[in-house]
């Protein structure tokens, strides 16, 4: 039955494909085993299948090896493999988590098409509520190994019945709603699954819990064909998840005080060493030019005190490189960096190192696993302010309090912390030197929604209370929309659009911004489907003109390929680099439909 009637698509396509075998063979294998096709016939069918899942030049791709395919192609190949024996059921375990938003959107389209064309059933596992809302008919919410709520997606989303579901939705930053200042995180963490659980597993974290929650809970009907595992679901039906009690600090804004400024920064990466540059022409070795990637090309960044500058862009667009350039963690090829109007030298001094800090994406790798939290925090403290022992301990506690961790965490090792806690520690570490600029490189993308909410709140607090300025990188538009004052949209190492949050989220915008916004699966944006914009797979030939031209759905002709686009300013400090006149861009229908919450 396995592989025959049921197809499986795993989370990480690059790990799920065998690196040593050609893709075509891997797709063909189930056919050879279950359908007893000959190798040739199976390969032919595999090519058809690859075509069917939207792979261009399937015959060519079938001969390639996994490492030669992009993430989206790999995921398609994996789906083709799962489909090969025409199964009745497709199991999908986070099939898009490892992918970029634009690629993710393509895969979701494909799955939808397959469903309607083949009448497939799918079991779709995901933690991305936007995707779930978009693609699923029915939904089951799991908590600590048990289904806590189950029913039609619409019904669950419009009226969550289980407290956990309520919490999840409340913690979600949403573009489609008016900006709320604070998100509502779910406190605490998963229970210890090694202990048998009697009653409701969510009890310790539930704001509505009562004594009876400790009794075993049954899955009961909650109306609208929704099943819910909560004895209080009925009485709580009107009850919303409580907002954080702590009031948002009043925001300190000092507009116009520029804290850090990068001017026309550029960075290219040479690929490979000397040996890799050797090419053979008619058997003779030649030293070719080093192939170079222009990771950041002529980008200017200005951040004011107390301002959050958001940077969005697809994977590989140069966001991280820009972040490192802003901190002089990489040497720029060109451009200048000024901190408080003073140029920052190649080897920055203590003051810059102290006042400009960074928080990374991955909480697992950003803390040294061999050091206790206390040690991790003590280092910047003693390095920059030479605090004595007693002083040090006090200040560590203060830092921990700042990120809402208790003093006892000081003795823990990173592996004893949850992802959110780790991320808080690395924020505390960055805060230890009292920075004025904090660069955050995807600081929340590895976290689940409730932890993410807590961290986002923390960032907002720090900004408001201490006037910290942020360079905030994320590929999640909702997060940016929640937090940022201004947004920079990057494509292919360059800025295609820049402006305030509202300006960027609404027309006129750059066609790439439009595509990005329309690709983001957003909770409560189901009806958007009709206008979804899909970008073709990455271009092979770089364009001499606009970088985005080869993939641009609104390309206006040869001009785009030949001439670098002009930078237009529809409003002061709102810049769009595009050949299309602003007036035309302004006429584009907005992709985000705001609902009143």
């Amino acid at each position: 039955m396995r592989g025959d009637r049921i197809g499986v698509v795993f989370q990480d396509a690059s790990a799920a494909l065998n690196p040593a075998l050609a893709v075509g063979l891997q797709v063909a294998e189930p056919l050879m085993v279950h359908r007893r096709l000959s190798r040739g016939a199976a390969l032919e069918r595999a090519i058809e299948l690859l075509g069917e899942v939207g792979v261009r030049q399937p015959a060519e791709v079938a001969r390639r090896y996994p490492h030669q395919l992009s993430g989206g192609m790999k995921q398609r190949a994996l789906i083709a493999m799962a489909l090969s024996c025409e199964p009745d059921l497709l199991l999908l375990d986070e099939p898009t988590t490892a992918l970029d938003v634009t690629i993710e959107a393509q895969i979701l389209d494909l799955l939808e098409a397959l469903r309607s064309r083949r009448g497939l059933s799918m079991l779709f596992v995901s933690h991305n509520l936007g995707i779930v809302e978009r693609i699923c008919d029915d939904l089951a919410v799991l908590y600590a190994g048990r289904i806590v709520e189950q029913g039609p997606t619409e019904a669950v989303f419009s009226q969550p019945r289980h407290p956990y579901t309520k919490g999840l939705l409340a913690a979600l930053p949403r573009v489609d709603r008016d900006r709320i200042t604070r998100l509502a995180p779910i406190p605490g963490g998963l229970p210890d699954l090694t202990q048998p659980q009697e009653g409701c597993g969510f009890r310790p974290r539930c704001p509505f819990s009562v004594a009876a929650c400790a009794l075993p809970q049954a899955l009961v009907s909650g109306g609208d064909s929704v099943l819910v595992r909560c004895h209080r679901s009925a009485e709580l039906s009107g009850e919303a998840w409580p907002a954080e009690r702590q009031p948002a600090a009043s925001r300190r804004r000092e507009p116009g005080v520029r804290i850090i400024e990068g001017d026309r920064l550029a960075k290219g990466f040479r690929l490979g060493g000397l040996l890799r540059r050797i090419r053979f022409e008619r058997g003779l070795p030649r030293l070719g030019p080093a192939p170079e990637i222009r990771a950041v090309d002529d980008v200017s960044v200005r951040i004011n005190r107390g301002e959050i500058l958001g940077i969005v862009g697809e994977s590989g667009s140069g966001k991280s490189t820009l972040a490192r350039l802003m901190l002089r963690l990489l040497d720029a090829d060109a451009g200048t960096l000024r901190y408080k109007s003073m140029p920052v030298p190649q080897r920055p001094g203590r003051e810059f190192r102290r006042r400009a800090q960074i928080v990374f994406q991955n909480p697992e790798s950003s803390l040294n696993p061999r050091k206790r939290v206390g040690q991790i925090l003590a280092r910047p403290l003693s390095l920059f302010s030479g605090a004595n022992q007693g002083d040090l301990e006090r200040r560590i506690v203060r830092l921990l309090t700042l990120v809402r961790l208790s003093a006892s965490y000081s003795d823990r090792y990173p592996h004893q912390l949850s992802g959110g806690e780790k991320q808080r520690v690395s924020i505390a570490r960055a805060m230890a030197s009292e920075p004025e600029v904090l660069v955050c490189d995807e600081p929340v993308s590895a976290l689940d929604v409730s932890v993410q909410a807590a961290i986002l709140n923390l960032f907002a607090d720090l900004r408001d209370r201490l006037g910290v300025a942020y360079l905030f990188i994320s590929h999640d538009i909702s997060v940016i929309a929640h937090l940022a004052d201004r947004v920079l949209v990057m494509y292919g190492g360059a800025v295609v659009e820049e402006g305030t949050l509202d300006e960027v989220l609404h027309p006129p915008y750059h066609p790439y911004t439009e595509a990005l916004l329309s690709a983001v699966p957003l909770v409560g944006a189901r009806e958007r489907a009709s206008q979804r914009i899909r970008l073709p797979a990455e271009a092979t030939e770089p364009s001499k003109g606009c970088r985005f031209a080869p993939r641009c759905p609104r390309r206006i002709g040869g001009l785009c390929d030949e001439v670098a686009p002009p930078v237009r300013e529809p409003a002061p400090d709102h810049r769009i680099a595009c050949h299309i006149p602003i007036a035309d861009l302004a006429r584009i229908e907005p992709v985000l439909v705001r609902r009143q919450s």
């Binding site: 396995r2 592989g3 799920a16 065998n18 690196p19 294998e29 085993v33 090896y65 040996l275 890799r276």
Partner: protein
Amino acid sequence: MTAYTLQRLLYVVVVVWIMSVLIFGITQLLPGNVAYAILGQYATNEQIAELERLLGLNDPWYVQYWRWFLGMLHGDFGQSIVMQRPVGPLIFEAFGRSAILAAIAISLVAAIGTWLGVHSATHRGKLSDRVLTLAQYFFIAVPEFFWAILAIILFAVWLGWLPATGYTPIGQSGVGRWVAHLILPVATLVCGLIAHVSRLTRSSMLETLRSAYILTARAKGLPHRLILRRHALPNALLPTITVLAVDVGILIGGVVVVETVFAYPGLGRLLIYAIEHRDIPLLQAGMMLVTTVYALANLGADLLYAAVNPRIRYGRSAG
């Protein structure tokens, strides 16, 4: 692939060249005066000085290096100081015999070692795995000279099945005797190596079996044997290939003990002779040969690696 091969080949050339500098340097460090070694303990100082001048030993080291290096390029490896015969034939004959031993041994190690490793991995925790593990530890732990002597006493003296020592060329007294002479040295050599390789294969196989693509292959409903053969093995063998390449180098020049006990006239013993007798030209040429073979074995491993693992052709840096 051709470009990749040529690149790697170029790399080998560079490495071999660096080796030549290093080897020349190392051998220059050896104490003992070459002229003294030639003339013996009765030579007068004048004679030694005269010979040093004739041999060009007073030239700066880079001149000497260059002379030596050019000579090697022309196939002239110099004259053995002690044996007073050309180094070239000496080295290459010994190398030929070592190569036979190494080729047989490495084939056996590759075949048996990987087979046992895969077996252990797929039978993890079962009796056969435990027995194999114990045997592997044992064979890694017992020094080979111990085996060698034991094997001679058992098979040559008590049982009389095999010749105790020595070597016969294949043409001279037939294939049978040629094989008979090789059995004991090969057996002694491969015991430890097989144990090592099979442990390595076992652990990399276990790791591969845990990977996501094996899970995918299972989900596809492929039969167990096919999963092992087509999906797991090629990936699991990658670390093994690297280790086998190192073993080739060791087998060519580093099996001194086995060569000594079995009186097998291989390169290792010749090199020991050269070290002991301070026969610098012999030593230099021999070490060049050994390191070149090692570099080539590594090249072979790299190419095999690339053939098995298409990532390598693009993904890996020169280190």
